[in-house]
Amino acid sequence: MRDLRAIARDGDRAAFHRLFDHFGPRVKAYLRRLGSDDETAEDLTQEVFVSIWRRAGQFDPAKASVATWVFTIARNKRIDALRRDRPTPGEPDDPELEIDPAPRGDAIAEFNQLSGLVMRAVETLPEEQKRLLKIFYFEGKPHSAIAEELGLPLGTVKSRLRLALGKLRALLGDELA
């Protein structure tokens, strides 16, 4: 979080380098898992980090952790890239990148706490559910491909994913009421 502030305020290259060292290879991993070839993933990763550099002043720690914010930019860049050949007039603005006009003072602590809770909640999931979450969401595979890959019936994949989300939500429930 400090790094992003230094980037925004001072154009701090060293801070940006640290951020890139940690998240660059992970953003590339995300794009590769979703099916980009090596060159495209490399190019898109560059675009993601140019965006991060330019938007650092918009990072709002009340609304996202650094990891969540970096993910959101990668997610949106990928959508842009997919639609580049097929411009869609109705593409909604991304509300997540907009700054909350009235951030609450305690919201920053809340989001950090939430990220910690989610991380711990994911840790408590059974190995298989953890893996399913990762494959379905992070690697973007459809239910059918997962069923084939894991040799499970389609219905089982769906119900176990739903179970995993239900558990996550139950573990977080009180915090988000």
């Binding site: 660059g24 993933a41 490399e42 550099w53 002043g57 650094v66 959101t72 007039p89 909604p92």
Partner: protein, 214 residues
């Protein structure tokens, strides 16, 4: 009776950009109008951050950093400014590109107590519309093949799932045979997406079915 799809699943899918464009539009509109929805969504985004942070890294090209340094030499910071003239505050931000001149300027089509306008999204297999149901009026009984996702933009309506107000996201599917009725205190404006044609199930509805495709 509830649908086989939950709002929570939609929110997680949205965080990871897994939703088709019309559905993403409904979810974004819901999030823009509902503080409770945003609170639920925060956990979905946090999960995305956690999965990124804990991902197995993929090595970058050896010159990736020097390439990036050259690129940012030429990049100006993006500041947040109010772009263009102030938009119609009645139109939720995600809908502004599709509804640039306000709801009244749209080519509404009259269907009795109901008015509708199709929104031009190119996704195949989806119907994306704004619907306006006159105060106190009822939509003919119908059931759904596939899902119907509705977010209330103004006013409110009741159906067998409950009472829905501004910002609420309502999911109906084939298990829901409902007759939504608008609140008495004003017209109800909704954004709705269906991923299959509807079937009218009441006695009159069956007759109207080929004409009135709600």
């Amino acid at each position: 009776m509830t649908a086989d799809l939950t709002v929570d699943e939609l929110l997680f899918d949205h965080a990871f950009a897994k939703l088709p464009e019309p559905v993403a539009l409904v979810v974004s509109t819901h999030l823009s109008l509902s503080p409770a929805g945003r609170a639920r969504y925060a956990a979905c985004r946090a999960l995305a951050g956690v999965l990124l942070d804990t991902a197995e890294p993929e090595p970058l090209a050896p010159d990736a950093w020097s390439r990036l340094e050259r690129a940012i030499e030429r990049a100006d910071p993006i500041r947040v400014e109010q772009q263009g003239p102030p938009a119609d505050p009645r139109v939720p931000p995600p809908l502004r590109r599709l509804v640039p001149n306000g709801f009244e300027a749209l080519p509404w089509r009259n269907l009795g107590p109901l008015q509708e306008v199709q929104l031009p999204l190119s996704a195949q297999g989806y119907r994306t519309r704004l619907l306006r149901l006159a105060a106190g009026k009822r939509v003919p009984r119908h059931t759904h093949e596939g899902h119907e996702l509705t977010v209330v933009i103004e006013g409110g309506f009741r159906d067998e799932q409950g009472h829905h107000l501004r910002g609420d996201l309502v999911i109906a599917d084939a298990s829901v045979d409902h007759r939504p009725v608008a609140d008495e205190d004003g017209d109800c404006l909704c954004l709705t997406v269906i991923d299959a044609p509807l079937r009218l199930t009441g006695p009159i509805g069956r007759l109207l079915n080929p004409l009135l495709r709600i």
